[in-house]
């Protein structure tokens, strides 16, 4: 994330929209604000009580009065504690609820977006929106707006009391404020810039380390140990130097603040002391002044910090709203879908992912209910796109697709997709158990899942595992072999018992044992339902009721195996190759 975008000026319309998010929690927010006011009043009153104790009770030798005053003092302290506590819990709660609301709607919006949006939007960016950006926004509610209000309120109250007590002393104290503000802003500016450099260097150090650990074999094989150590030393030292610079800033800033505080105290003593001698100022007031002086500087220092939070939150808000304001372009119709016969008709379908680069050109074909269709063609011929269009991942630019005689766009999207199942070339497994990955959260009876696993040849392996279906699939399914991953995705499709099956056969090689299992599983999957298969295996092609041959986005041949053989086109060429090989390697393996 470029740093420049993180910082933004105040945008009032954005701020309005953000405060609008407080609306569902209006009463709580009002409660939090009243608690803040109470707490500020309590806390500001305490030094005044001390003043009363010194000037009236102690000076008058009235121990009875002193006891009463101390009681008031304690009540104020207790009041401050209770209001502070509830205020913080309340604001924290509001902030957290807003975060949950935001993440929920963001997540729902993101997962309903059309596939084209995902093609353009990197995963990392989506993650940043839902995590960091929302977190920054939370800062605005819990740390930003409310604390700014609180700081300003206590400043106003303290300044008010100071002027009420003695305007000359108050002015004396206020004289230090510009110096503190100036120093603070200067400090924050330097530190922010330094932290940015530190962050970049930390990232450098960690990337280097991470890469050297994962690539340790390469480092060794190419004899880079000494040189890499040298490089590491360099970036490491650069990071340290940057750190030392920030330490310098801090080492100047904090003591400087203390010195300024002492200057203020000395100032109060100087002016106030004279006035005590003149008899116009009581001791109690002087002590109260010294007390207020201490409370006075913190809010000023904090305000600079708050402004920063506000800026970050604004930039984050803008990015978050950008997603919330975007609506999915592919939505469903009203038509319900109890049971699908599975008749598919493509009518003059044109499609391109990018303008000017057509992927499908005027495709028309019909798949009758219950039949199997194989799509054959070279990489990039548009086979996979046909499956994507059927699932309405994308929308054709021209032409239409009918399913059981109804335009796809008229079906409810979730119903439509629920009646189909797709098996993708790259199997995607979620973190969780095998069971989770087969059912995907559907509440299937165990028998159904076992049956699906049995028919796809997965059951023996699953039963051999200590935890059976509850075996955890680790990080993106890495603990399973390629063949096993395939079988899991087959079982997933079979368990959903779709009316229409879309299968993108995997091309990547798996070991021979799995290969055989996969062949059998595919036959089992296709049995008795409408299917469209993007075929890479000749066995699947041969058995299809209909074969469609795609070439550069056009449907060039279609028909049964017999018809296509007579046609002597691309398919015929492929087939001749197969029979020649079949003869050469005829070890009782008819499929290749």
């Amino acid at each position: 994330m470029p740093d420049r975008r993180d910082v933004k000026g105040l945008d009032w319309s954005l701020l309005k929209r953000l405060t609008g998010m407080l609306r569902p929690y209006g009463w709580m927010a009002a409660g939090a604000f009243s608690l803040i006011i109470c707490a500020a009043l309590f806390e500001t009153a305490i030094p005044l009580v001390t003043r009363h104790a010194i000037d009236v009770d102690i000076a008058g030798g009235d121990l009875e009065g002193l006891r009463g005053t101390i009681l008031v003092f304690l009540l104020l302290v207790a009041g401050g504690f209770v209001t502070r506590y509830f205020q913080q819990v309340l604001t924290g709660f509001i902030g957290q609820r807003i975060v949950v609301d935001l993440r929920r709607s963001l997540y729902r919006r993101v997962t309903s977006m059309q596939m084209g949006w995902f093609d353009r939007t990197p995963v990392g960016q989506i993650m940043t929106r839902l995590t960091n950006d929302v977190e920054n926004l939370n800062q605005l509610f819990t740390g930003g707006l409310i604390l700014i209000f609180q700081d300003i309120l206590s400043l106003v109250l303290i300044v008010g009391v100071l002027f009420w007590m003695d305007w000359r002393l108050a002015l004396m104290l206020l004289a230090v404020v510009p110096v503190i503000m100036l120093a603070t802003f200067q400090f924050k500016k330097l530190v922010r810039a330094a932290f940015r450099r530190v962050r970049a260097l930390v990232a450098d150090v960690n990337t280097f380390l991470q890469e050297n650990i994962t690539g340790m074999a390469v480092v060794r094989l190419f004899r880079r140990e000494a040189r890499n150590r040298e490089i590491f030393e360099q970036i490491n030292t650069r990071l340290m130097d940057e750190h030392l610079r920030t330490i310098f800033y801090f080492a100047v800033f904090f003591p400087l603040m203390e010195v300024l505080g002492s200057v203020a105290t000395a100032g109060v003593l100087w002016v106030g002391g004279g006035r005590v001698l003149d008899g116009v100022l009581t001791f109690g007031t002087l002590v109260a002044f010294l007390n207020y002086a201490e409370r006075f500087f913190r809010p000023i220092r904090d305000l600079a910090e708050k402004y920063n939070i506000l800026q970050n939150a604004m930039a984050a808000a803008e990015r978050v709203f950008e997603i919330l304001d975007r609506h999915p372009t592919i939505t469903g119709g009203e038509q319900l879908l109890p049971k699908l016969k599975g008749e598919i008709v493509f009518e003059h379908v044109h499609f391109s992912y990018e303008k000017g680069i057509p992927v499908l050109k005027d495709i028309s074909f019909r798949v009758s209910a219950g039949s199997s269709t194989a799509l054959v063609g070279y990489t990039g011929s548009g086979k996979s796109t046909i499956a994507s269009l059927l699932l309405r991942f994308y929308e054709p630019q021209q032409g239409r697709i009918l399913l059981d005689g109804v335009d796809l766009r008229d079906y409810r999207l979730d119903e439509l997709r629920r009646r189909m199942a797709i098996v993708l070339q790259d199997v995607f497994l979620f973190q969780g158990t095998l069971w989770d990955n087969i059912c995907l959260g559907e509440d299937y009876p165990e028998e159904r899942v076992r049956e699906a696993a049995r028919r796809t040849g997965l059951l023996d392996w699953v039963d051999g595992k200590a935890e059976g279906f509850h075996t955890e699939v680790s990080e993106r399914g890495q603990s399973l072999s390629g063949g096993q991953r395939q079988l899991v995705s087959f079982a997933r499709a079979l368990a959903h018992n779709p009316d229409l099956l879309l299968l993108d056969e995997a091309t990547s090689s798996v070991d021979t044992r799995s290969e055989g299992l996969i062949q059998e599983a595919i036959a089992e999957l296709l049995k008795g339902r409408t299917s469209v298969v993007i075929a890479h295996r000749l066995s699947t092609i041969q058995q299809a009721d209909q074969i469609l041959v795609l070439h550069h986005g056009e449907l060039v041949e279609s028909g049964t195996h017999r018809e296509l053989m007579d046609h002597e086109g691309i398919y015929h060429r492929l087939w001749m190759l197969q029979s020649r090989n079949g003869a050469a390697a005829s070890n009782g393996k008819p499929e290749a």
Partner: protein
């Protein structure tokens, strides 16, 4: 840490000076007030103010020095630790890396080093500061009034224990919250990466429901954190106010009775608020030191890890003949991946290695370049066992192109020059010519200087593989090992590269493992591995004759290539 003893001593001295100066401030203030009450009999107002300011300025300067010295030291320590850590990593054996997850090593390098740093810098500084300020403050108070000091003596330990407990709880909750945050972010990551499956099965609501569950858990943790935090500071404030109230009562009665001056009360009350910070700090610092200690122990596990890479002393460049004698290998606790492999490879010959996924091809090649070490049997280079060779010499003789084309976040040029930084421009260009990467470079805006990786460009799989081939070729090794490194390169280019390599490899021993058998046709000898054993061996023609697995695979591939790639010829 010993090397910074000087810095630490200087720092400690400065802490001492700072606090002893700082401690007189309130006393002077109190004296000033009392003097005021008596009409300034002792000194003028200006004198008091001058002393106050003087103390403030001098202690400000020493405080600056103390931060510079002590916190600065911790950054030096951090750098040294990180360097030592990296140095040790470089020495550890591949077994170690197979055992340890990268994430775990990284968390030691980041989190644990940070914990040690926090303990050795801020932890040390604040504990010195706290002890001295606390000690001086108490001494001052005791010197003024024992009765009043009792308030502080009672309050101090109570507050410290509370802080210790609460900050421990906050730390624990923070870790929990970080973990849950990680789950949220990996759920999002997974949803975005697996969006096709989610949408195809219409599982958006289910996934959203699971997401809500994670959010709810996060909310719970955050709320306990917020509640603890919300109680913490007001509670501290209340406790200090309570002690101030008690002080006010005791002092008030004393003043009324004439036993105490008003100024003394003011000084006392100022000392009390001055002690507030050290009291809180004790609890906090204790936690810091504990975490630092735990971090150091975790770091030590790696720094003292005994499983380092061994090497022999033998040197000398020779022909590059390779002999495998009764070689067997199994990964930790796994079944045997290779069993009893014998092979004789004359210098300068080309060996093709064929086998299905999991047959042991990569393992065999990794044993030959000593990336792995065999459980039994041995590998000889020109008649000398690998373990007896100096590692540096061995690696100078061999160049490997590994299966996963691993590149570093560097410029492309530096990646290719990785093994030979000072190669001549001529050699450099030649190697990129052989690997057919040079034509791609012209299309990149920054050419050879293009940065790769997160903050740079993303190369295609084929481009990465060709870059790694260039990297190995530039080494001009005597033995070249190619581990299935052309899988993402298209057929035509693959053939070109193989052609180029054939010339280049003339006179060098070459081992090629490949899924694509067409790449191996010209090899002097091809071996077929099945379940860790050599089952077929011979030239391409001999193996076709043999009609075994090789012939079978070869036919099938011809066909599949026709099916999925042949279209290029029609275009």
């Amino acid at each position: 840490m010993g090397r910074y003893r000087g810095r630490i001593l200087r720092g400690a001295l400065l802490v001492l000076v700072t606090n002893s100066l700082f401690i007189f401030g309130p006393r002077v203030l109190g004296l000033a007030i009392d003097d005021l009450g008596q009409g300034l009999q002792n000194h003028s107002l200006g004198w008091y103010i001058g002393v106050l300011l003087g103390l403030a300025v001098v202690s400000g300067v020493t405080r600056f020095g103390m931060r510079q010295q002590l916190i600065g030291t911790s950054r030096l320590v951090e750098r040294d630790l990180r360097e030592l850590f990296f140095e040790r990593l470089l020495a550890l054996s591949p077994r170690f890396f197979a055992r340890q997850r990268t994430g775990d090593i990284m968390s030691r390098a980041t989190q644990d080093i940070e914990n040690v740093r926090l303990a050795s810098g801020p932890g040390m500084m604040y504990s010195m500061d706290t002890l001295m300020l606390g000690g001086f403050g108490l001494a001052m108070m005791l010197s003024m009034s024992f009765r009043l000091s009792l308030v502080v003596l009672v309050m101090l330990p109570v507050v410290s224990v509370i802080v210790y407990r609460i900050s421990k709880r906050i730390h624990r909750l923070t870790l929990l919250s970080q973990k849950q945050y990680g789950r949220i972010s990996s759920h999002v990551q997974e949803s975005a990466a697996g969006i096709r499956v989610i949408q195809a099965y219409a599982r958006e609501e289910y996934m959203a429901g699971r997401f809500d569950g994670e959010l709810e858990k996060y909310l719970q943790i955050q709320m306990s954190l917020i509640r603890t935090d919300a109680a913490f500071r007001p509670l501290m404030g209340a406790l200090f106010a309570l002690s101030q109230a008690i002080l006010l009562w005791l002092a008030g009665t004393d003043i009324v009775a004439g036993k105490l001056q008003l100024g003394e009360y003011v000084a006392f009350s100022t000392y009390m608020s001055m002690l507030a910070w050290p009291t809180i700090a004790i609890g906090w610092v204790t936690n810091l030191l504990q975490r630092g200690d735990a971090g150091m122990r975790r770091l030590d596990e790696i720094i003292r890890e005994p499983d380092v890479l061994g090497e022999g002393r033998a040197v000398g460049r020779q022909g590059g003949a390779i002999t495998l004698q009764d070689l067997s290998f199994a990964y930790e606790d796994g079944p045997e991946v290779l069993s009893h492999i014998d092979l004789e490879l004359p210098a300068g010959s080309v060996l093709g290695v064929v086998g299905e996924t999991g047959s042991g091809k990569s393992t065999l090649l990794k044993l030959i370049c000593r990336e792995l070490e065999p459980q039994s049997g041995r590998v000889l280079l020109d008649g000398k066992p690998l373990a007896e060779l100096k590692l540096d010499e061995l690696r100078a003789e061999m160049a490997v192109v590994p299966q996963d084309a691993f590149l570093f976040s560097e410029t492309l040029r530096n990646n290719v020059r990785f093994g030979k930084e000072h190669a001549s421009e001529e050699d450099f260009l030649r190697s990129s010519e052989i690997s057919r990467i040079s034509s791609d470079i012209e299309q990149l805006a920054d050419g050879w200087e293009s940065a790769i990786g997160e903050r740079g460009i993303t190369l295609s799989g084929g481009q990465k593989q060709r870059s790694t081939i260039a990297r190995a070729v530039l080494m001009q090794p005597r033995v070249l090992i190619l581990d299935d490194c052309l899988s993402a390169v298209d057929n035509h280019t693959e053939e070109e590269i193989i052609g180029e390599l054939r010339q280049y490899m003339d006179g060098r021993t070459t081992l090629i493992a490949s899924h694509r058998l067409s790449a191996l046709r010209g090899a002097d000898r091809i071996i077929v591995l099945q379940e860790g054993r050599i089952t077929e061996s011979g030239t391409h023609e001999q193996l076709l004759e043999h009609k075994g697995l090789y012939a079978d695979l070869y036919r099938r591939q011809e066909l599949e290539e026709e099916l999925s790639h042949g279209g290029d010829e029609h275009a």
